[in-house]
């Protein structure tokens, strides 16, 4: 990664810099609020590197969640990464040892950047992608540490700061709702989960496992009709 490639990549990452600093600061502050030193926030951001996953992680640490449940909840919250990888199979080819890091660092924001940008003339393509990934990761760690330090220095009543996780999920849901053609999956997810919560109770979030299984079954049952109306929609858009 030469200085030139890094300098070429930097301007493209500015939106992520703003986003990661702010979301990272809130994450670090939440960690401070449950009594963890800044090194913990830094270690999590370096090793896990997942926004919504780490917000959930704060909740899991605060509730001393059993490891099996930690694994399950992390798995389902990060399920969407599966889709990102699928569309990066070609892009990461031939990156050698850097490919492993590219896969590790494939967050929502880095994915969005990599999917949309092309290196300027004369800049090494693979080095450019790698620089973007490294810069984004540094912003995330930086924001987390800033928030954790601020949270441990400034002693205000932080009761309720854990709501940031709820707020983040609502923001993601609003974004998804706006870009989705089909709203049935989101409604289905909410409905099925509410039913499972009412039937099974909330202890350790175990109602999530049957909810997820039920959701997948229903989505598979609904597949013919969802795919059909998706096609109809595409035709409708084309003809406009």
């Amino acid at each position: 990664m030469s200085r030139k490639t890094l300098a070429a990549a930097f301007p493209y990452t500015l939106p992520v810099l703003m986003g990661y600093l702010s979301i990272g600061i809130v994450f670090g502050w939440m960690m401070a609020a449950i009594g963890y030193a800044p090194t913990w926030a830094a270690a999590m951001s370096a090793a896990i590197y997942a926004g919504s996953g780490q917000y959930l992680g704060v909740d899991l640490l605060a509730n001393a969640t059993p490891l099996a449940d930690v694994a399950f909840l992390t798995l389902i919250i990060n399920f969407r990464h599966l889709v990102y990888g699928l569309s990066m199979l070609e892009k990461f080819k031939g990156m050698g040892w850097r490919k492993l890091y590219m896969i590790f660092s494939l967050t929502d924001e880095t994915y969005a950047l990599l999917a949309g940008v092309h290196p300027p003339e004369g800049v090494d393509e693979k080095g450019f992608y790698f620089s973007i990934a490294v810069l984004d990761h540094l912003y995330w760690i930086g924001g987390s540490v800033l928030g954790a330090v601020a949270g441990s220095l400034i002693t205000i009543n932080t009761e309720g700061i854990d709501f940031a996780m709820t707020a983040l999920f609502i923001v993601i849901a609003v974004e998804q709702w706006r870009s989705a053609r089909q709203h049935l999956p989101a409604l289905l997810g909410a409905g099925v989960t509410v039913v499972c919560l009412l039937l099974l109770g909330q202890e350790n979030g175990r109602f999530l496992i049957p909810a997820l299984v039920l959701m997948i079954i229903l989505l598979l049952v609904l597949r013919p009709s969802l795919e059909r109306s998706d096609k109809t929609d595409e035709k409708g858009v084309d003809s406009v």
Binding site: A50, Q54, Y84, F92, A164, T166, A190, G205, L220
Partner: protein
Amino acid sequence: MTPLRAAAAIAVMAAVTFLTRALPFLLFGRKGNPPRVVLYLGKYLPAAVIAMLIVYCFRSVNFQAAGNWAPAFIAGAAVAVLHIWKRNNLLSIVGGTILYMVLVQAVF
């Protein structure tokens, strides 16, 4: 939670997160396209999962007293309205969280 348990939980989160990112490369890196049913679930399941996680966040709400449900519902609605209106992640998240903190600390 002992530091060792916390470190173990973080290691599990890191390993599972990496796994979800690496899986497509492990499964489909060498040979052609993934099955269409995987693509289908990959397209529609994330929206359902996010909706599920929002319900998860509201899991300890109950209706025995206003203080047990009103702050979460008011602040949650505020986040949605703010985000539809301004579409600024930081404003929606920080604004909603501060509102919630004020509600639980000073109002209810």
